[in-house]
Symmetry: D2
Subunit: 361 residues, 4 copies
C-alpha cells in the first residue's frame, strides 16, 4: 500500500535507496519456464546507467545485477524473481549539506513532511536510481513480449526546443542507439547534444520528450473502463521521476482537429481489419486495435542545477543553496530505456490479463 | 480484474450499459457517519446530464439517482454505498443499424474482438453514460474533501482553437457555471459556444481541454514511487472516454524551460513553507506540497459525426456509415463535472491512505 | 478496502443491508459470451431463502433476482454483472427495541464501536441476508466451472452431536436435496431434523458442520505461498456468518496420524498419476493435484435464541434481552448453498488465474 | 498475482528458494520513523531456525539477516523494507535423487504440473524455509503492535495425542520458551518431547496444534464481510506449510454447544463493556470486541519420513523412495514463531486499515 508495487498479474515491487545497500525488484507473476536473457537485462541497465557518455552524470556505477530468486538453470520458475543491483560509487559526503535543507523542486520537503524522516543521502528513495528496478523488470517484460512478437521502442524526440519530425514513420528508429542522445535523426541528435553541452557548461539543465512506439500489437489488450490500456500506460509514465505529461496518439494535438479530421476510418487490410489513419494511437475504448500504440512523455528539466538558488531549511529559514554531487544536465538519453521498460511492463501485464478472455465458455 | 474498480481505500466499482437497466456504482471504503449531501449528487448529475443546454445531446434523461445501500437515516454506515440511475430515454432502435458495423474511432471493433460479443445499443458499456457512476462516486469523494477543506474545481479552458488565459489566477473561476460551456471567461465562452454551434450545424464535432484546480491542499498526499499523486490523477483522467492527454503543472510546457527557469524556490509564507512559483503543480516526488494542484486534460473531438464515413462491417467488407441517434457536438461542457469527480476520487483515496502515516510509532 | 470485494480475477463486490432497498452483487472478471443459466441462480437462491421448510425462519421472501447489467441477449458481455434482490418482507418494527441494545454474540456492539453508527434493523449489514450476494455470484462461478467440468457439492454432515459417516464416499450425495436438512444420509437426516425441532420448541439453537466436495478437479489450481488453494477456501468459508472453523482433507484429524499413516502415496491411475489415499484433500503445497478437494466448515449455534438473556445497552447498563423477529433455530440447511457458492467462487477465480501458466514462453 | 504478496496496507512480498541465493521479504506500508528492534528480528529467526535443539532438523543455518532498504539510522523510512537471509548450509547433492521423483505428500508433483519446471533442490520454493520471510515481516508487525500495546503469543498445545489444558488461562504462558517444544505446561512438554524422540528414532513424524492468544486487543479491527478478522487470520495460518485446519474461539467445539450455552453475554467491566465468556474468540461479525483473540492451528505430520515409501517418478512409473537430507520429525516447536508472525502481520494490517474510521466527517 506504500505504492511500491505496480501491475495486476505481472506485478513488480521496487525497493532501495540511492545510497543504501542496493536497488532491487521482485517480479511476481512472470510466466514459468521462460529462458532468461541475461544480456538483455545488462544491455538495458547499461543504457540507463550514469557515466555512459559525456552528456550524462559521471557517477561511476557498473550496475551489475544479481538474480537472487526465481530462476533455476537459466529459466524462470514461476516463483517470484528478485534481482539486486548493489550501490557502489556513493559519495554520501556530497550530501551532508542537504541534511537540513529542502532543495528546490526536489522531494526533500514533501518526504520530510509526509514521513517525519528522510534519507537525505543522494535523494534516498526519491532518487531516479530507483528506476534500476523498473529497467530490470522491464527486461523480463520484454522477454514475454518477445515471445508474443510485440516490439517496444522509445527514442528522444525533443530536447528543449529541438525536435524531430512528429511522425515516427519519417525517422530512422534503427539509428536511435547510434548517438549519445538516443535520437533517431542524426542531424537533430547533433543539435540536441550541443544544447545539452551548453546547458552543462552553464550549470543549467534541460527537459524534453521521449516518444515510444509499440508495434506488432495484438488486438484486445486493455480493460475498457478504469484500466484502459492508455490509462495504465499514462500512470506508468507519470510515475517516472521528472515526468510532467503524457499523451496517446495525437494527444493534445487532437484538440485542434475536428471529428471529421480525427476519426480513423476502418479499412480492409489484406484479410484483416485495420485503420486508414492512426490518430487514436492504436487504442479505442481503452483496448488495443492492432495498430501501433505510440505516445509522448514530457520530462521537465532536471531539478539539480549548478547555479545558486534560493530555498528554506528545515527550520523554515531562508538560505542560499549550491548543489554538489554528480548530476545529469538532461535525463532524456537515460530515460529512453526507462520509458521502454514501463511500457513493456504495462503491455506484459495486459497481455497476461487478456488470456482469460480466450477461455471459451 | 475486469478493470471496473478504481482506488485503493476509497474504492469505486462502476457498472451498467447505456441501454441496459441502469448505470450504477458501489463505493466501498467511504468514511462512516458522514451526512450525505443529496443535493450535491443531483447537482453534479445535472451538470453531466444530456439535454442540459442547446449545445449538448438532446437525449432526455432526468438522471435521478436511488441510493440502494450503505446510507441510514441520511448518514453513511461504513458499509458499501450503492447508487443507481435508471436508463429511461433509450431509443435502442436508433442503433439497430450498428449491429453489424464498426463505427470509426469508436470501440465497437475492439470490444467485439476482445469479448466475442458486444451490446451495440447506444454503445453498451463503451458509452460515456458510464461516467454517471463516476460523478456519483465523485460527489461522495467531494463530501470527504469538504470535511478536509479541500476544493476541486474544473472548467473548460479550450475548445478547438479557442482558449482562455493559461494562468487560472487570471480567470473568473466563480463564473464557470454561468455559461453553457463552463468557461470561466465570459467573452471566450461566447466564442466557444459559437464554434460548437457551427460544428453542430455542419455535422462535425470539436475537442478541447478541461483544466482542474485543487486548492487548500494538505501536504503529504501521494505515495512516492508508482502511486504518485499525479500518476493516479493521470490514470483517472485518461480513463475517461475521449481523453488523449494529461499534464500536471506546466506539463509539456516544462520542456521549453531550463531548470533555472522551472524550479520552484521554497520560501517562507507566514509561518509555513511554500514555493515562490508553482510550475510543479503542487506535487514534488509524487507527494502534494500544499500548493494548488492543477492539471490539463485533452479531449479529442467526439467520434460520432453526422457526415458519411467509410468503415467496414463485421464481415470485413467496406461500407458507408451514416450516424443516427443523439450526440454531443462537443463533450467539453459535460466533461467538467466528470473531471472534477475523478480528481475528487483520487484525492479522497490518497487522503485516506495518508492517514496511516499519522500513527506515531 | 472496506472488505466487500473478494477474488483476484473473478471478483465479487457485495452490498446491501437486511432492511435496506436490496441486497446485491457486482461480478467483475466473468468470462464473456457465457450463456447465463437463470434457473441455476434462482434454484440456489431458493435453497438459501428463509421459509423454505418448517425448520427454517419464516421470513417470507421470494428472493427474486434482477440482472441490472453485464448480460445481453442471455449471454455475459465481459462487463460487470450486477444482480439485485429486493428486500420485501421486512418487519423493521420488530427491531425497534434493538436500537439501544447490544445482542449477545451478535455484531451490534462491534459495528457500533467501529463505525460510530449502525443500521439496527434486522442486523443491517451484519445480517446473513448478505449471503444472497454470495449465492448469486456463486451461481455464475458454477457456470464457469460447469464449462470446465468441475463439480462442487456441499451437504450437512453434522448438527449438534448427530453426524454422518466421515467418509463422503459412504454417503448418498445425490440424496442431499431430498430432505429439509440437506443431509446425504436419510436416517441421520431424520435425527437432525428432530433435534432442530426440539431446539426450536425450546427457544434454543444448534450449530453443525457443512462438508463440501469438489470433484473432477484440474491439476494446478492455487498459488503456492499465500494464495494456496485451501488458504483461499478457508478465508472464503470463515467469512460466512457464524463460521468458527475450517479444515481441509483430514484437517484436525491429521494431528492424530503419524507421517507414515498420513502421507498419500503417488500411484499410476490408468495413464495418469494419482494418490492412493487422499488425506491431503486434493491439495499439495497449495496447488490442486487432481484428486477430490474436500473440507469441513464449522457453524456455531445461531446467536438469536428465544430465551431471556443478560446484556448491556449502549449506555453500558445491564439489561435483560428478549429476542423478537423471525430466526432459524439452525442455519445449517440454508448454509449448504452458501458454502457451495463460496467454494465455486474460489475455484473459478483460481481456474482463471491459472490460465496464464498455459502461455508457452 | 503469483500469490507471494499478503496484506492490504501492511503488505509483505516473500521470495526465495531453499537452495537459491537467499530467502527474503519486502515490507511495504510499514509506518515511518519507527525504531527497528534488531534483537527482536534475530530472536524470532532463532526461534524458527533449524538445529536449535535435538528435536529439530540439524541443518545448520545461522540465519543472520541483512536489511537492504527502508531503514536509515535505525528507523523505518516509510519506504519498502527489504531483508535478506542468505542460504549457506545447503547440501544440494542430497536432493539429486529427487530430480525425477515425486515425493509423497510433498508438492513436487503439483509444482511440476503447474509450472512445467521446478527447483528440486531442498524443495525449492515449496520449502518451509520460505517462512523466514514471514518471521522477519512478523517482527516488524510486532513492533507496530508493541506501539499499540497488543501482544501476540503462540505455543504448542498438542503433539500427536498429547495435549495441554484447552483453556489457556490455566497454562503458564510465560514458561513457553523454557522448553524445546514450546509448550506452556512443563509436564506435558516432557511427554511431547519424548513422543517426538520416539518418532525420530523410528523414522516417522508427528503433527500437532499451535494455539495463539492475542491480548490487549483494541475494539474495531476487522472488516465485516469478506475481510473478517478471523477470515484473514485463517487464510494467514492456512498459508503456512503443513497446516490443515484453523478454528477461532471454541471453533469446532462450538458445534456441540447450544446457542444458550455458546452466547457470550455482554457485561459491564469497570467502565467498559466486555463479555462474560469468550467463546467467540474476541471477534463478533468479523470485528474485534476487545476480548482476547485466540485460535488453534492444526499441523499435519511432516511429509518427509525415513521409511521406504511407494511413489511414482516423472515418467509415471512406480518406484520406491527413501528420503535423504535433514528434516524435522515434528515442526511444531519451530512453527510457534511462524504462527505468531502471521498473526502479527494480520493484526498490524487491520490496525492500520482501521485508522481511516477514526477520521471524523
Amino acid at each position: 500500500m506504500g505504492g511500491n508495487t505496480f501491475g495486476k498479474i505481472f506485478t513488480i515491487t521496487s525497493f532501495g535507496e540511492s545510497h543504501g545497500e542496493a536497488i532491487g525488484v521482485v517480479i511476481d507473476g512472470c510466466i514459468a519456464g521462460m529462458q532468461v536473457d541475461l544480456n538483455l537485462i545488462q544491455k538495458d541497465l547499461n543504457r540507463r546507467k550514469p557515466g555512459q557518455s559525456k552528456i550524462t552524470s559521471n557517477r561511476n556505477e557498473a550496475d551489475e545485477f544479481e538474480i537472487i530468486s526465481g530462476v533455476f538453470e537459466g529459466k524462470t520458475l514461476g516463483s517470484p524473481i528478485t534481482v539486486l543491483v548493489k550501490n557502489k560509487d556513493q559519495n554520501s559526503a556530497d550530501y551532508d549539506n542537504l541534511k537540513d535543507i529542502y532543495r528546490p523542486s526536489h522531494a526533500d520537503y514533501t518526504y520530510h513532511k509526509k514521513y517525519g524522516i528522510r534519507d537525505y543521502r543522494g535523494g534516498g528513495r526519491q532518487s531516479a536510481r530507483e528506476t534500476i528496478a523498473r529497467v530490470i523488470a522491464g527486461a523480463f517484460a520484454k522477454m514475454i513480449l518477445n515471445g508474443a512478437g510485440i516490439k517496444v521502442q522509445a527514442y528522444v524526440s525533443q530536447v528543449y526546443n529541438i525536435k524531430v519530425d512528429p511522425n515516427y514513420k519519417n525517422l530512422w528508429l534503427d539509428q536511435t542507439e547510434t548517438n549519445n542522445v538516443r535520437c533517431p535523426d542524426p542531424n537533430i541528435a547533433a543539435l540536441m547534444i550541443a544544447a545539452i553541452e551548453v546547458a552543462k557548461a552553464t550549470g543549467d539543465s534541460l527537459g524534453g520528450i521521449v516518444t515510444c512506439v509499440c508495434s506488432n500489437m495484438p488486438i484486445g489488450l486493455g480493460e475498457p473502463v478504469f484500466d484502459k490500456l492508455h490509462a495504465d500506460l499514462g500512470k506508468a509514465m507519470l510515475s517516472i521521476n521528472a515526468v510532467k505529461g503524457f499523451e496517446i496518439g495525437d494527444g493534445f494535438g487532437s484538440v485542434l482537429k475536428k471529428g471529421s479530421e480525427h476519426n480513423d476510418a476502418f479499412v480492409k487490410k489484406n484479410e484483416k481489419t485495420g485503420t486508414l489513419t492512426n490518430n487514436s494511437g492504436g487504442i479505442q475504448g481503452g483496448i488495443s486495435n492492432g495498430e501501433d500504440v505510440y505516445f509522448n512523455v514530457a520530462f521537465k528539466p532536471v531539478a539539480t542545477i549548478f547555479k545558486q538558488q534560493q530555498t528554506v531549511n528545515t527550520s523554515n529559514e531562508s538560505v542560499k543553496f549550491n548543489a554538489a554531487g554528480r548530476h545529469d544536465p538532461c535525463v532524456l538519453p537515460r530515460a529512453v530505456p526507462i520509458v521502454e521498460a514501463m511500457a513493456a511492463i504495462v503491455l506484459a501485464d495486459h497481455y497476461l490479463r487478456n488470456e482469460m478472455y480466450k477461455i471459451k465458455p
